[in-house]
C-alpha cells in the first residue's frame, strides 16, 4: 500500500467546497423550505374534516414512508419528465435534469416526514384555541395562520431542525444520479487521483463536524425554548 497522501485534500479543497458543499447546502435548504411548506399543508389535509382530503394525505405520507429514499429518487428521476409533459401539454417527456429532479424528489420525500412532525405540532395546540379563533370570527385559514401554526412551529422547531440535519445527510444519496454534491465531488477526486482512503475519511469527517455541530446547536436551542416556557 502506498503512503497516505493527505495533500490531495489541499489540492481539491476549493472544488470540494465551492462546487460540492455549495450544492449539498443548496439542496438541503431548498428541500427543507419546500418540504416544511408542503409538509404543513399535508398535515393540515390529514387533520381536515373532509374525509377524502385526509385519506389522500395519509396515503401519500404512508407511501413515502414505506419505500426507501433511493427508490423514490429513481422514481422521480423518471416520473418528473412525464408529469412535466402532462402539465405543459407537451407530446413527449420534457428534459428536467438531475439537479432539478433531485430538488423535487427531496422536497416531496421530506414533506412526508415534516408533515408527521407538523401534525404532532398542530395537535399539541389545545382545541379550545381553535374554537376561540372561530368565536372571534376568524376563518379556518386565519385561525391556522395567526393562532395554531405559529405555536406549532415554535414547539416543533427543534424536531424540524433535527429532521433537517437528517435531510442534510440524506442528500449524499444524490450520488446515484452522478450529481456533484459534496460526496460526489469527493468521490470524483478519489477516483481520479486514486485516493479513496483519504477522500472518504475526509468526507466522513466533514459530514460529522457539520451534523454534530448543528445537533449541538439544536440542543442549546431546545434548552432555551424550554426555559422561556
Amino acid at each position: 500500500m502506498d503512503a497516505f497522501d493527505w495533500n490531495v485534500i489541499n489540492r481539491s479543497f476549493v472544488y470540494l467546497f465551492k462546487e460540492g458543499m455549495t450544492f449539498t447546502l443548496t439542496l438541503t435548504g431548498l428541500a427543507a423550505v419546500g418540504g416544511i411548506v408542503f409538509g404543513t399543508l399535508l398535515a393540515m389535509m390529514r387533520l381536515s374534516s373532509f374525509k377524502w382530503l385526509s385519506l389522500v394525505a395519509t396515503g401519500y405520507v404512508n407511501l413515502m414512508r414505506s419505500i426507501p429514499l433511493l427508490l423514490v429518487i429513481f422514481w422521480f428521476y423518471f416520473l418528473v419528465p412525464y408529469i412535466g409533459a402532462w402539465m405543459t401539454g407537451a407530446s413527449r417527456p420534457i428534459q428536467v435534469g438531475a439537479i432539478a429532479s433531485s430538488v423535487i424528489t427531496f422536497t416531496m420525500f421530506e414533506a412526508a416526514y415534516y408533515s408527521e412532525i407538523m401534525r404532532a405540532g398542530i395537535q399539541s395546540i389545545p382545541r379550545g384555541q381553535v374554537w376561540a379563533g372561530y368565536a372571534l370570527g376568524l376563518d379556518y385559514w386565519q385561525t391556522m395562520a395567526k393562532i395554531v401554526l405559529p405555536q406549532a412551529f415554535r414547539n416543533m422547531l427543534p424536531i424540524l431542525l433535527t429532521q433537517t440535519i437528517i435531510l442534510f445527510q440524506d442528500t449524499s444519496l444524490v450520488y446515484v444520479l452522478s450529481i456533484t454534491d459534496f460526496l460526489g465531488a469527493a468521490s470524483k477526486v478519489a477516483q481520479r487521483d486514486g485516493r479513496l482512503v483519504e477522500m472518504y475519511l475526509f468526507a466522513a469527517l466533514v459530514y460529522f463536524v457539520v451534523s454534530f455541530g448543528l445537533s449541538l446547536l439544536v440542543k442549546r436551542l431546545q434548552q432555551k425554548i424550554a426555559i422561556v416556557r
Binding site: F78, R92, A204
Partner: protein
C-alpha cells in the same frame, strides 16, 4: 405524451437468461431481507450493550457510549458504507485487506453492507434502549439493589425485561428503517430489491412497471413487519402494566 405499459414484462425472461423479471425482483427481496436480518442481529446486540452502558453509573462508560452513538449518527449511511467497502481493506494489514478485496460477489458487497448497516443501526437501537431504561421509574433500579442484586442482575431481571417492552414500537420503526436502508448497499454493488428494480428498468426500459413492482413489494414487506411486530408486542405484553400500544403504520 405516451408511455407504453407492458405489465407482461414481469413474466418475461430476464437478462440472466432463465428466470423471469419477477423472480429477479424476488431474489433482490431475498438479499434485502437477509442483509437486514444479519445487520439487525448486530444492531440489537451492540445496540443493547451500548444502550445499557449509557445508563450505568460509570461516567467513563457513559461517555464512551455517547461518543459511539454520535459517531454513527452524524455520518451519512452512504459514507459509512464507503468506509467499510473502500477504506477498510486499505487500512487493515495487507493480508486481511487482500482477503476482503478478493471475496467473490455478492459476498464482497454483502459483508461490508452488513457491518455498515449493523453498526449504523446499532447506534439508533442504543438510543432507544437508553430511552427505554430511563423511562422506567428510578425506584426500580434501587429496588433491585435493595434486594441484593448486583448491577448486572438488576439489569437482567428488573430493568431490561420492562425496557425492551417499552421500546417495541420504536424498534418496529427501526426495523422498517433498516429494511429500507439496505437499499443504500446498492451503491457498493449489492443487488437487493431496489437494485433489482433498477436493473430491470435499465434492461427493459419499462421504468414504471419495474419501480411499481418494487414499490408494491416494499409495501407488502412493510405491512408484514408492522403486523408481526404488533403481534409480538401483544404476546410479550405484561397484563396490566403496559397495554399493547396499537400504533398504525411504521412510525
Amino acid at each position: 405524451m405516451k408511455y407504453n405499459w407492458n405489465w407482461g414484462i414481469l413474466w418475461q425472461t430476464s437478462a440472466d437468461g432463465h428466470n423471469t423479471w419477477f423472480m429477479t425482483l424476488i431474489h433482490g427481496l431475498g438479499w434485502t431481507l437477509v442483509t437486514a436480518l444479519c445487520a439487525g442481529v448486530i444492531a440489537i446486540l451492540l445496540g443493547s450493550i451500548i444502550g445499557v452502558i449509557r445508563t450505568t453509573p460509570s461516567k467513563w462508560a457513559v461517555r464512551f457510549g455517547n461518543a459511539y452513538v454520535e459517531l454513527f449518527r452524524n455520518i451519512p449511511l452512504l459514507v459509512q458504507l464507503f468506509l467499510w467497502y473502500f477504506v477498510l481493506p486499505e487500512v487493515v494489514p495487507k493480508a486481511l485487506g487482500d482477503l476482503l478485496k478478493s471475496m467473490a460477489p455478492p459476498w464482497g458487497s454483502f459483508v461490508p453492507a452488513v457491518i455498515g448497516l449493523g453498526l449504523f443501526t446499532s447506534a439508533r437501537v442504543a438510543e432507544q434502549v437508553r430511552a427505554g431504561i430511563q423511562a422506567l421509574a428510578r425506584g426500580q433500579g434501587m429496588a433491585g439493589t435493595a434486594l441484593g442484586l448486583t448491577l448486572p442482575q438488576t439489569y437482567r431481571y428488573v430493568l431490561l425485561p420492562m425496557a425492551y417492552r417499552i421500546v417495541m414500537p420504536p424498534l418496529t420503526s427501526e426495523t422498517m428503517n433498516l429494511i429500507k436502508n439496505t437499499s443504500v448497499a446498492l451503491t457498493i454493488g449489492l443487488v437487493e430489491l431496489t437494485a433489482a428494480g433498477r436493473s430491470m428498468q435499465e434492461y427493459t426500459f419499462q421504468v414504471f412497471e419495474a419501480f411499481t413492482a418494487a414499490t408494491v413489494i416494499y409495501i407488502i414487506v412493510n405491512l408484514t413487519v408492522v403486523n408481526l411486530m404488533r403481534w409480538f408486542e401483544k404476546r410479550i405484553a405484561v397484563p396490566g402494566f403496559i397495554g399493547p400500544s396499537v400504533t398504525g403504520g411504521a412510525h
